[in-house]
């Protein structure tokens, strides 16, 4: 066996597409090698803007021989009256390399998954050598790479993300003649476009990364990212500042370079009077610059760009970047100055007629409609949870106003942030935070609204979108979620999980539905589907929190309208071993079954007990009744479940051999026994449904 290298040398691949290709390549290669029956070791994808590569360790010398039974035509169609093979049978035999006389018939599963008499052949294929097999599967791999957008060049009939210039394909020291797009692979790669432009001969895959490193190319993405980090650290040393963390930018910049070299530039400190989010965003969006802050966390009038080369005088590059970025900052300041000529409520009037979602219908589709509904929800919530009603309502009225500002027009990601800045001085303190915080959490696991008013408007905005979309048949299907509804539901759940509010999902859906009255019909089915949608998201969130899926399903099975409560029940269920769950599950099944058969249930009367196990269970249960009730009242689920665990042996004994038969022929005894079981069931059914299995809580 030997290592395999494939490199596709390219004109500059877009950074995001490169990242995706590097992430997806190992699976694609693994699948093709598996299909080709070539065993191998680790698969590593590599890439820079000018190349996409993969190294596979220890690729086997040969495929193993293949012996398999193949199913052919139905026996009835395979032989004529004289028992001679028909055309169909002969064709099948030839295709599989066997003599027609060697065909047999057997009772097997045919093409339509139906058993029947079919012709079968024992096919044998001798394993082929890696040198023979690899070139074609690698050609196919290149042709099948799934670029989001691909192009042609020159006279090319083939398409790729950008023009391809060379291919390297080595298996150990051997060149694999991989052919694609008029190119045939060799052992020659190229170094950095400017620093080492010549061809480099590779003796084997083992020296790929090291040879390229000597040619100013760091081909491993993770290693290059480390290098970018090291450059940033060096600049922190030199400037005494701290680079503002920005992982997305870090990833992008890593894939814009083969040889990252950090360069610091400065900008006019006068720009620091502009809200710093704008400076940071303008420099990152237009220029892919990192920004620096001082020890106090204040933005410094400096930036870092990651050059892709070593030049004769880095000052020239720094100076050039300063010149390039100055107009960007001037524009940003101009936008702010223009925006500040209007009050936020003037922008609100501009936003109001804009369409939020046309599908909601003419009386519900605009931002103006949406704001009205958000205000209605906030007012209704003020009756249920504690927050400053006035601040929240003013914040709600202005929460989308900044969408009409120049800055947000230019930098959509600053929505909320600009509203916050512009609200200061125009509205009571706190309104600014509501506007910024109502977009929180801005991503999975991101910061939550700190203020109660921000949290309320954040919930109101999202539940309004969710209800409107479910009512307008815009719910997510499959992996498509164009309106971000999963994120919206998870946002609401994250806020509710973090706050001690007695606010149920059902209440939220009901309040939000009422706001659509007369404008857009929200049916009970819509509400029910939305509630189920929340259950699915809550399950996902709790799994993220590290809870066991079985515990989550049991807890949510007993109700999920109060996410915090459901989460506590799921967490505390961990104290219950599966053997305990089994016996209580049995109780639930018996009780439900009896109900469905119309059985009578009586208030338990110990005088009708026949067996010591009945007395024992009754006594043990009665002794814990107050404790369980109290635990339920005070949400001490751990104690509630602990009490159930203590009951477990007595329930087990009740059902065990030597125990009782619940469905006694005597109707009074039967009703008495069912009555006791139902009492016990009622204690746990409110907190956990032990029959719930994970299948019910999958992705929806």
């Amino acid at each position: 066996m030997a290592d395999l290298l494939l490199e596709i040398g390219c004109e500059e691949i877009p950074a995001k597409m490169l990242a995706r290709a590097v992430a997806e390549l190992p699976d694609a290669v693994t699948k093709r090698l598996a299909d080709a029956r070539l065993s191998h070791g680790a698969v590593q994808a590599l890439g820079t803007p000018r190349r996409l590569a993969v190294i596979v360790r220890d690729v086997a010398d040969r495929q193993p021989d293949l012996r398999e039974r193949v199913v052919g035509p139905p026996a009835s169609a395979a032989f004529d009256k004289e028992g001679n093979p028909t055309k169909a049978a002969i064709g099948f035999a030839q295709k599989n390399g066997v003599d027609p006389s060697a065909l047999e018939t057997a009772e097997v599963e045919g093409p339509k998954k139906k058993m029947g008499q079919y012709v079968v052949a024992q096919r044998f294929a001798a394993g082929r050598g890696a040198m023979e097999v690899l070139p074609s599967i690698l050609s196919e791999l290149i042709a099948a790479l799934p670029w989001p957008k691909s192009m042609r060049w020159g006279w090319s009939e083939h398409a790729f993300v950008r023009p391809v210039h060379w291919l390297v394909a080595l298996w150990g020291g051997e060149v694999l003649p991989v052919a694609w797009g008029g190119l045939t692979a060799g052992r020659r790669t190229r170094g950095h476009r400017f620093l080492a432009p010549g061809w480099i001969d590779l003796a084997s895959p083992a020296e790929y990364a090291s040879q390229l490193r000597r040619a100013h190319v760091v081909v491993d993405v993770a290693a290059r990212k480390d290098l970018v980090r090291a450059e940033l650290a060096r600049i922190e040393q030199e400037t005494g500042g701290r680079v503002r963390k920005d992982d997305t930018l870090l990833d992008e910049v890593t894939n814009l370079c083969e040889w990252p070299v950090g360069v610091v530039g400065s900008f006019d400190p006068a720009y620091l009077e502009v809200p710093e989010e704008i400076i940071v965003t303008a420099l990152r969006t237009h220029q892919r610059y990192f920004t620096l802050e001082d020890r106090g966390g204040k933005l410094m009038p400096k930036f870092v760009t990651m050059a892709n080369t070593v030049t004769r005088d880095p000052k020239v590059v720094a100076h050039g970047n300063e010149r390039a970025s100055a107009p960007r900052l001037a524009d940003a300041r101009f936008f702010v100055t223009e925006d500040r000529k209007k009050r936020l409520d003037q922008f609100a009037a501009l936003v109001a007629p804009r369409i939020f979602l046309a599908k909601f219908g003419p009386n519900a589709a605009t931002y103006g409609h949406k704001i009205k509904r958000i205000e209605g929800i906030v007012a209704a919530l003020a009756e249920r949870v504690a927050f400053d009603r006035e601040i929240a309502l003013v914040g709600a009225a202005q929460c989308k106003s900044d969408l009409a500002t120049s800055v947000v027009g230019e930098f959509p990601e600053l929505q909320g942030i600009m509203g916050m800045h512009y609200a200061r001085g125009q509205y009571a303190p706190g309104v600014d935070r509501v506007i910024a915080e109502h977009y929180m959490p801005r991503g999975a696991g991101a910061e939550l609204p700190a203020s109660a008013e921000g949290a309320v408007v954040a919930i109101a905005d999202r539940i309004d979108t969710l209800v409107g979309c479910f009512a307008s048949s815009l719910e997510p299907t499959g992996s498509a979620d164009p309106y971000g509804l999963r994120r919206a539901a998870i946002g609401i759940l994250s806020i509710l999980l973090a706050r001690d509010w007695d606010l149920s999902i059902d209440t939220l859906i009901e309040i939000a539905s009422q706001q659509y009255a007369g404008a857009c019909e929200v049916t009970d089915t819509d509400c029910g589907e939305l509630a189920e949608f929340f259950r699915g998201r809550l399950r996902g969130v709790l799994i993220e929190h590290g809870l066991a899926p079985g515990d989550i399903d049991a807890a949510l099975g007993a109700g999920f309208a109060l996410p915090r409560d459901a989460s506590a029940r799921a967490r505390d269920l961990a104290v219950m071993p599966s053997t305990a769950r089994e016996v209580f599950k049995r109780i639930a099944n018996i009780v439900d079954d009896a109900h469905s058969k119309g059985e009578r249930f009586a208030t338990p009367d110990p005088a009708l007990f026949k067996s010591p196990v009945e007395h024992a269970l009754w006594n043990e249960y009665s002794a814990r009744h107050d404790r369980i009730a109290n635990a339920f009242q005070t949400l001490q689920y751990r104690d509630l479940f602990a009490a159930l665990v203590e009951l477990q042996p007595h329930v087990a004994a009740y059902f065990d051999k030597g125990g009782v038969m619940v469905m006694d022929p005597d109707p009074d005894i039967r009703a008495n026994r069912l009555g006791m079981l139902e009492l016990i069931k009622d204690e746990f059914a409110k907190v956990a449904d032990f029959r719930a299995v994970s299948a019910s809580g999958g992705e929806s």
Binding site: P14, K16, M17, M151, R152, W155, Q287, G320, P327, F334
Partner: protein, 321 residues
């Protein structure tokens, strides 16, 4: 380097590499891509290498001459190489070195930037080229124009000459660029910026321009019906500029905007198809006689399936011939 020397250098460089140095088109256009030397020549199987400076009008970008970085009209230096040669990036980088942007001194990057012109029904993939973080060129592999798939593909390089000049001359305002030894960009162009901003934003007679748009559109269609492709395309360019002017004047609502763009695109598409047909009927004269003949034959054989299919058919025989 003076602005005019920058253009001279680029012209010389590309002329030495086989480009025809065309002159700007004498019709108002928003980009060099509208020049018939680009939009029409990229169609069909004939080779074409050309370069030219083009005066481009962007009425909405006018700032009364008050913004040092924005203009209502500016110059593009455009190069079209068809088919795109394998070493087009290297050639381009060589041209940068010629005008003083040497890779030994500057950080030169190719950063993804896909290009699309909804009015021309055209798109391509490529990059914006950065020199020390400054966008100096739009580099595009043209994939489609007038709704027609392009084979072969043209590489289009559009140099932003003012930006490059500002950088090379180390000036902070476009208007301070030295055009030559004696005259600045501002001295030549500033009055135009001031007056045209006023004209486009305040004085432009919208009803007049609406009627112009309708007339250009009708005339384009009439000329196409008479087999006059090149004058028809001129009307298409004029309708596009009329639309840009109305847009800058704020005379076109958001919903109407898409409709106007669609109308221009319709003209561009019809002109593109008519152009390929007319080149085919001439036997694709920029090909060799033999190639032109087989390309015409292939084109005619496929034309019942539409111009796009016919053009692809013609390209195929040229590519393999």
């Amino acid at each position: 380097m003076y602005l005019q020397d920058l253009i001279f250098e680029l012209q010389k460089f590309w002329a030495d590499r086989g480009c025809v140095i065309e002159q700007p088109v004498d019709v108002e256009v928003g980009a060099g891509t509208f020049h018939p030397a680009t939009f029409l020549r990229v169609l069909g199987p004939e080779p074409w290498n050309a370069a030219f400076a083009q005066f481009c009008r962007r009425p909405t970008d006018g700032r009364y001459g008050e913004n040092p970085n924005r203009l209502g009209a500016y110059f593009q230096f455009q190069v079209g190489l068809k088919p795109s040669p394998p070493n087009v990036q290297d050639l381009y980088l060589e041209s940068l070195a010629k005008i003083g942007l040497d890779a030994r001194d500057h950080d030169l990057r190719f950063v993804e930037d896909d290009w699309e012109s909804p009015t021309l029904g055209a798109w391509g993939l490529g990059w914006e080229v950065w020199a020390d973080g400054m966008e100096v060129t739009q580099f595009t592999y043209f994939q489609q124009a007038g709704g027609i798939d392009l084979r072969p593909v043209t590489a289009e390089l559009t140099y932003g000459v003012e930006r490059i000049a500002m950088y090379l001359q180390n000036v902070d305002s476009i208007f301070d660029i030295k055009w030559d030894r004696n005259v600045t960009y501002g001295q030549i162009r500033h009055p135009w910026e001031v007056e045209y901003s006023r004209y486009q934003f305040e004085e432009l007679d919208a009803p007049f321009y609406f009627s112009l748009f309708d007339k250009y559109e009708a005339e384009c269609q009439r000329l196409l019906a008479r087999g006059l492709t090149l004058p028809a395309y001129e009307m298409c360019m004029k309708s596009s500029h009329a639309f840009n002017s109305l847009d800058a004047r704020g005379a076109i609502s958001v919903t109407e905007r898409q409709r106007f763009i669609g109308r221009v695109r319709g003209l561009a598409r019809a002109c593109a198809e008519a152009y390929v047909r007319s080149r085919a009927s001439l036997g694709f004269p920029l090909l060799s006689k033999e190639q032109g003949a087989i390309a015409k034959q292939a084109f005619d054989a496929e034309i019942d399936n539409g111009v796009n299919a016919a053009a692809l058919g013609a390209a195929k025989v040229v590519a393999h011939g």
